[in-house]
């Protein structure tokens, strides 16, 4: 109970989750020892009846579809000088054009692709690192735990954004996947902490002892016994990391450290400000990219609250 609540509290602030789950004793029983496949249908049943999950999913999937299918229907490439400069939204150019006559809608659609790619890869990388470190530290304990914990704390305190600026400025990260990779490398610590705390509380359970007695290796125990009991939590963690990566990437792009070979929503805002769209009143240039990010990330957060209710029957009753 405690952990799920902490989870909701974490959305943007990673604090509560670490605090809440730092006390393993208080961590509620993560759904007993059930096998994951058994209640998948039940989970789906509740998920499809939760308005927050539905709304969040519809918005996110809608943008995803637009990003995936949109380019096929566009007449102009993002950087093409397609029409009259500074044209307000019209039938030909649904989001208007830039000072150079580029189609803002085409840029937006291309930017959506980068946004989802960064979220998926960045979130994925940090989830894998965080979970691996969390599992190993929590399960092994002892010196390994101490060392990994120290590493986690150090990376946690380092302002990751700042290191990303240096890396991007020097190493010239000029592709979306590389950017996502670097973002992932610096955003895993709170995941590692939370996963570690939960693994600690699971480690002393009977079914883990049983697995250990039957001589199964550590990796297998973590994969087959520990992780399935945390699937719901891990999934929600991934959703948060996904949103976080998108926001970080947008900030980097805005500073001018984004990909040079692709369009992104952050880059659109960078160009809009650089070419004084604000003073020229070209609101159609800078509103869509920010609104897109806000809606995608906001929907992810709201979906997460809904998922929390789905996975946690106690919250569901409320």
């Amino acid at each position: 109970m405690r952990k799920e609540n902490g989870m909701t509290a974490t959305q943007p602030i990673t604090g509560p989750v670490t605090e809440a789950s730092e006390q393993p004793g208080a961590t509620g029983s993560p759904s007993g020892g059930r096998k994951p496949g058994g209640d998948a249908r039940e989970t789906l049943y509740f998920a499809l009846r939760n308005p927050k999950v539905i709304i969040g999913m519809v918005v996110v999937l809608g943008f995803l579809l637009l990003g995936l299918l949109g380019p096929a229907f566009l007449r102009y490439a993002p950087m093409d000088y397609a029409g009259p400069p500074m044209a307000p939204p019209s039938a030909d150019f649904p989001f208007g054009t830039t000072t150079f006559g580029q189609d803002v809608f085409a840029q937006f659609v291309a930017g959506l692709r980068s946004t989802f790619l960064v979220g998926l890869l960045g979130g994925g990388v940090s989830a894998v690192i965080g979970m691996t470190i969390g599992f190993v530290a929590g399960y092994r304990g002892g010196l390994i735990d101490e060392l990994l914990n120290m590493l986690t704390n150090v990376v946690l305190v380092i302002p990751g954004f700042v290191v990303l600026i240096i890396i991007n400025a020097y190493l010239g990260v000029r592709s979306v996947p590389m950017q996502a990779l670097y973002i992932g490398v610096f955003s895993w610590p709170w995941v590692a902490r939370a996963v570690r705390a939960q693994t600690l509380s699971l480690r002393s359970r009977d079914f883990i002892d049983l697995a250990r007695l039957s001589g199964v290796g550590v990796g297998t125990i973590l994969r087959r016994e520990v992780a399935p009991n945390m699937y719901s939590y891990l999934f929600m963690t991934f959703v948060l990391l996904f949103g976080g990566s998108i926001l970080t990437a947008a900030s980097l792009d805005f500073i001018g450290l984004g990909p040079t070979n692709a369009m992104s929503l952050g880059l659109m805002m960078n160009q809009a400000v650089q070419w004084s769209a604000l003073h020229l009143g070209l609101w159609w240039w800078f509103i869509p990219p920010g609104l897109g990010i806000t809606l995608i990330v906001g929907s992810l957060y709201i979906m997460n609250v809904g998922l929390d209710e789905v996975f946690n029957p106690k919250l569901r009753e409320m």
Binding site: T18, V157, I166, G256
Partner: protein, 331 residues
């Protein structure tokens, strides 16, 4: 308490070493010859200039020395406060350029952080267990938190600055004024400060409100709250206790959020061309001034570490468990 602070200090010390090492290492991982690249980036044609620039960079980086010696020299220079010379604002020393910009950044960050923390926590505490507020505050809170920092800044600059013309949208003070101690200058400074501050304040607000709401709900379900209710204590009193307990994880959260807020402050300043560290970072990147970039970022790291330490001390003051050596704060 001593153990708690000692452990924290160890972590911060280690973090500082790691950060400085990264700062030293990353430029050396740059593909190709860094000196050649930087000379090439300067785009000068004169062979003489190129030769002297190459020599200058070789010497300042100390690239002819063995690696371990370069590393030690870097530390030595650091402790002398020598962060190199800015290329962009030649011949100003980097440390001076950075120190001039720091007050602006702190000036918007500190009030924004403190106010959003206090206001957000109160809003969140009010929203908890009040259906109407909850239904409004929660979705709004999530959307605000999901906003990219610079987008809100852009919206404010456009709405209040350009469209309504209430506030100036660029600079730390009017370009026609000379910094001095006078009322008109202070007023001008304040006018330029409002929008960047507001932008940073608003983005942070949602997160604190949501966090507090969730924590209060959790606290109100706990045994002590039920016990108090069973004793017949007034609701207000129970909520007060819940609020105080819920604040502890929020303070931890504040420490963890510092890096993110700082990143937000940097991009916010860029939108408003506010003369703080963010603008320095942007100028350094645009002008390929790597000494300035590294110096600025090193300052930022130090700032975050100091702030973390301050929060730890606050934590010791508000959480008695850390004082008695029980498990309180998170290491």
């Amino acid at each position: 308490m001593r153990g708690y602070l000692a452990r924290k200090t160890l972590v911060y010390g280690l973090t500082f070493v790691v950060a400085v090492t990264l700062n030293w290492l990353i430029p050396r991982l740059m593909p190709g010859d860094p000196v050649q690249r930087m000379v090439a980036r300067a785009a000068v044609q004169h062979p003489e200039t190129i030769a002297s620039m190459t020599e200058y960079y070789e010497r300042t980086f100390g690239l002819d020395l063995p690696l371990w010696q370069q590393y030690l020299n870097y530390w030595a220079a650091l402790f002398r406060g020598d962060l190199g010379t800015s290329v962009w604002l030649f011949p100003a020393p980097v440390s001076q350029v950075v120190l001039d910009a720091v007050p602006y950044t702190l000036g918007i960050m500190i009030p924004a952080i403190l106010l959003s923390f206090v206001v957000g926590n109160s809003v969140g505490a009010m929203a908890a267990r009040s259906r109407w507020l909850d239904n409004v505050a929660l979705p709004v809170g999530y959307l605000i938190t999901a906003m990219p920092y610079m987008w809100l800044a852009i919206l404010l600059a456009w709405g209040f600055g350009v469209a309504l013309g209430w506030f100036p949208v660029a600079g730390g003070y009017d370009f026609g004024l000379v910094p001095q101690w006078s009322w008109s200058f202070a007023l001008d400074l304040l006018q330029h400060w409002v929008l960047p501050f507001l932008s940073l304040f608003l983005v942070s607000l949602g997160g604190w409100a949501i966090g507090m709401r969730n924590l209060i709900i959790y606290e109100l379900e706990s045994d002590y709250a039920n016990y108090l209710a069973a004793l017949g204590a007034p609701k207000r009193l129970i909520r007060q206790y819940a609020f105080r307990n819920a604040q502890l994880p929020q303070i931890t959260g504040l420490a963890l959020q510092l890096g993110t807020i700082l990143g937000g402050a940097l991009v916010t300043e860029i939108v408003f061309a506010y003369p703080g560290l963010g603008k320095l970072v942007l100028s350094a990147i645009q002008n390929q001034d790597f000494f300035l970039l590294q110096g600025t970022l090193l300052f930022v790291v130090i700032g975050v570490l100091v702030a973390n330490f301050v929060i730890d001390i606050v934590y010791v003051l508000v959480d008695p468990r850390t004082r008695t050596g029980l498990t309180g704060g998170t290491a």
